[in-house]
Amino acid sequence: MADFGRVRNAIPGCISMIHVRDLRVDYDNVCAVRELNFDIEAGQVFGLIGPNGAGKTTTMRTLLGLIEPTYGEIVVDGVDVLESPEDGCKKIGFMPDFPPVYEDLVVWEFLDLFAACYYVPRRQRPDVVEKYLNLVGLWEKRDAYVPDLSRGMRQRLMLAKTLIPDPPFLMLDEPASGVDPHGRVVLKNIIKKLAERGKTILVSSHILSEMSEFCTAVGIMERGRMVVSGSVEEVSRQVMGDAVMSVEILGRGDALLSNLSRDRLAGTVQEVAAGRFEFTYDGSPGEVSQLLAVLVAAGIPITAFGQKKEGLEEVFLKVGARELS
């Protein structure tokens, strides 16, 4: 696919499922993706977050080999997809936000077509079609014409099509976009099931609350660059600063405040509600455990103690605000 002199950075011993280095994509005179670097480990569910025009879809389409990058390196499961796109495409399954389908085929014919496209032997195809129709809950609709399916059903049909070659890496671009709440729950459960089966999944979505439920890692893109990436906790910590601890106690908080003021790892304590306090804590999990033991030993009537989970929305908004500033 490469026209001439594609830049390769030799990365010895690359063990990630997805390995992207120094990726740049230009459209006309616009640089859609610039110097993008990220890794996705095998078995991770990676959420790609970013506003419209951040370069998420371009990144996905480049990973697929649909767009030739200006330069950079993309390795999927050990295969350089730019050097050998034929091998690369067997490793990747892709589901776009708006599922394009053949309007003149019935459901089983649609899946059979793509099974043939991935060289599934003719005799095995009916079994493969049945397996994936059952997985996405469309077996009853196998003889229905594709245009007769609802949006959610089409999305699931597309997911079944995506799974046919049994790729180790799945890319889902806005999988729940335009799907009703029930359809979303079904899709979410299927994605969870696939993650449990060890698939590496890259999901881009605007519904951040749902993503935080199944993503183990996230990357936030802004104006073609990956601003921050890593596990949800890491990103949260990087963006929001030290971990925020939340403590709920019975009665007044004088004893709690005096104990915390003596701990040099604890930051300013705020009473956010009656009997509920929050403070930043720059300590390891062991030190958090030690702190709890000290508080209990001091006789403070604790009813709840734990690290406050920052939602992806807060993280995303903070990154967005930081980028804009």
């Binding site: 026209d3 001439f4 006309d28 697929l64 200006t70 892709f94 043939a116 496209c117």
Partner: protein, 584 residues
């Protein structure tokens, strides 16, 4: 290779078989075509033969030729164009792009699968057409010729339709655009043919059609049959109450005079259209030449279609492939015009090859994004410039190569042809200025299109249309207006458009100074070529400087950030060291 021909295992072919051959949609078409075929046979055998007393009618065969052309080319081609355009518009083609099936195999599947219903309808007409060919004057040989050229042409048109579908932005307009191209080709072909420029028309079925229905051999055979019948009738009764019609130059006459006894009907050779198309002077059958042209075009169109199926952003041709395409067409065109006089050879060849080169230029002129991509990539690998054969390099080198190819091809033809030949003995013709205008037109078009693409980005299309309007069409409009009052001045203005200039530079105009005409034909295209070439070089240099600046700025920023991080690291060292000490 096996995969290429194994249609039963071709997923795209199977998909179309399933979707397009459902009983409910196939049956009405089959019934209608069978009925129409029966009607044609009835009209031929009962109305024309019996009621109109024409013993040797080929009207039925001609009707079948057009019906088959309509089904096979028009309906089938439209289907291919709309089918692939819908795939593109819905985005499902991207799924096929990322499957391991090679693009060429997919292209074959779509090419033969999308028009499968039309191919079946076409096959229904075949037995009827064969019956009329055998029982009528056409015969099995000519029937086979028509069949070959129809099928060869249909596959070529399907590939063209595929490219049309792949390059059209809206699916709804794809089949319309294809029909327009088809109409243009099939209107232009007979026009070229009438002027004795046979070569380029071999892409279409026109030459074979003319040979079969109006050719010398066909007409002579009919006359021989007619003679036999007249002699037989004379032996039987002397007077022929139902005289057979005569074929004269393709038009049919119904003579009503009685045929005198013992006088054979003369073989009126002057009335017969002579079609002699040789290939580099060799007597190669027209059908074979036509198939050669169609195969040549088909091969290169197929390459383009496969590339577009592979990726939406790839240009239709690699630069070397585009050059090979032009070289092939030049070789075939020159071969088919080898025995023509200087005037049809030069004008036919220059017009055809120039139009062809202009179309090819569009396929190898990269957009601004690709030029930027090429320069960025070259910069990244520390290359001073993008290789000239790369898809991401500007078109200027290839453009010059295309111009040289045409110039050399036509120069060979002109040198070989008879320098004293005149059109009907009336017009003096000097071929070299015509060739020069043709070559410069290609250069000015190519340089302008590349310069405007780089300078104006997304707005380039509009500006380029404006350029073409002013450079090519305004002189024609103004020239025509002036010509009504001032013939000489009008002629001078008219010739400034290369569309007319190619002809006038060679033929001149009566009562107009030919030297001035030649200068005014050559000067505008030469000036435009030079201006746009300079502008193109300047724009490319500007773009390269911008990219270098961008990289330098980024490198400067990166160094600054690294220095700042280093500074922060140094500042935080005491606190970090303190943190790392064990707590009491």
């Amino acid at each position: 290779m096996r995969e290429f021909f194994d249609l039963a295992s071709n997923p795209m072919f199977v998909k179309h078989i399933r979707s397009r051959l459902r009983k409910s949609s196939l049956l009405p078409g089959v019934v209608i075509i069978a009925f129409l075929s029966l009607c044609i046979v009835f009209i031929n055998d009962f109305v024309i033969k019996d009621a109109m007393r024409n013993p040797d009618p080929d009207s039925g065969s001609q009707m079948f030729f057009f019906l088959q052309g309509f089904i096979l080319v028009l309906m089938g081609g439209s289907q291919v164009a709309s089918s692939i355009a819908q795939m593109k518009e819905s985005g499902i083609i991207d799924f096929h792009r990322i499957t391991p099936i090679p693009p060429k195999v997919q292209a074959v599947g779509i090419l033969l699968g999308a028009p499968i219903r039309e191919l079946i309808l076409y096959s229904i007409t075949l037995p009827f057409a064969l019956y009329l060919a055998i029982s009528g004057p056409v015969g099995i040989t000519d029937f086979s010729k028509l069949l070959l050229v129809q099928i060869g042409g249909a596959i070529m048109y399907y590939t063209l339709a595929m490219i049309t579908g792949l390059t059209t932005s809206k699916a709804r307009g794809a089949s319309g655009r294809f029909v327009a191209i088809l109409a243009l080709l099939n209107i232009a072909a007979p026009m070229f043919f009438t002027f004795g420029v046979y070569g380029p028309t071999l892409i279409t079925a026109t030459p074979v059609y003319m040979e079969v229905f109006y050719g010398e051999e066909q007409a002579a055979a009919r006359k021989r049959n007619q003679q036999k019948r007249v002699q037989k009738q004379q032996q039987q009764g002397g007077f022929n109450p139902n005289p057979p019609p005569q074929q004269v130059g393709g038009a049919k006459k119904q003579p009503n005079q009685p045929v005198p006894q013992n006088q054979p009907v003369p073989a009126d050779d002057d009335d017969v259209d002579r079609i002699k198309i040789t290939f580099y002077g060799l007597n190669v059958p027209i059908v074979l030449q036509s198939l050669m042209f169609q195969f040549g075009v088909l091969t290169f169109l197929f390459i383009a279609a496969s590339r577009r199926i592979h990726s939406a952003r790839l240009p239709l041709y690699h630069k070397p492939t585009a050059l090979m395409f032009l070289a092939t067409m030049s070789f075939l065109t020159l071969g088919s015009l080898w025995d023509a006089n200087t005037l049809p050879l030069t004008l036919g060849g220059v017009y055809f090859l120039s139009v062809f080169a202009v179309l090819l230029t569009n396929t190898i002129t990269p957009a601004l994004g690709d030029i930027v991509k090429g320069m960025q990539r070259a910069f990244k690998i520390s290359e001073s410039r993008v290789p000239i054969w790369s898809d991401l390099s500007s078109n200027k080198f290839l453009l010059m190569t295309l111009a040289v190819t045409i110039a050399v091809t036509m120069a060979i033809g002109i040198v070989h042809s008879d320098p004293n030949a005149r059109l009907g003995g009336l017009i003096d013709f000097t071929p070299w200025p015509s060739l020069l205008v043709g070559v410069l037109t290609i250069l000015s078009y190519g340089f302008a299109s590349q310069y405007i693409a780089i300078a104006y980005g997304n707005r380039a299309r509009g500006y380029f249309v404006l350029f073409l309007f002013f450079a090519w069409f305004v002189p024609i409009i103004i020239g025509m207006i002036i010509m009504a009052q001032e013939r000489e001045v009008g002629g001078y203005v008219l010739t400034m458009s290369p569309i007319i200039g190619i002809t006038l530079a060679g033929t001149g105009l009566p009562r107009v100074d030919q030297d001035v005409l030649q200068v005014l034909s050559i000067a505008p295209v030469a000036a435009l070529s030079l201006i746009f070439m300079v502008l193109l070089f300047r724009e490319e240099r500007k773009l390269r400087d911008e990219i270098i600046d961008e990289h330098e700025r980024r490198e400067h920023k990166r160094r600054k950030r690294a220095a700042k991080e280093e500074e922060e690291y140094e500042q935080e060292r005491p606190r970090r060291d303190d943190d790392e000490r064990p707590r009491p």
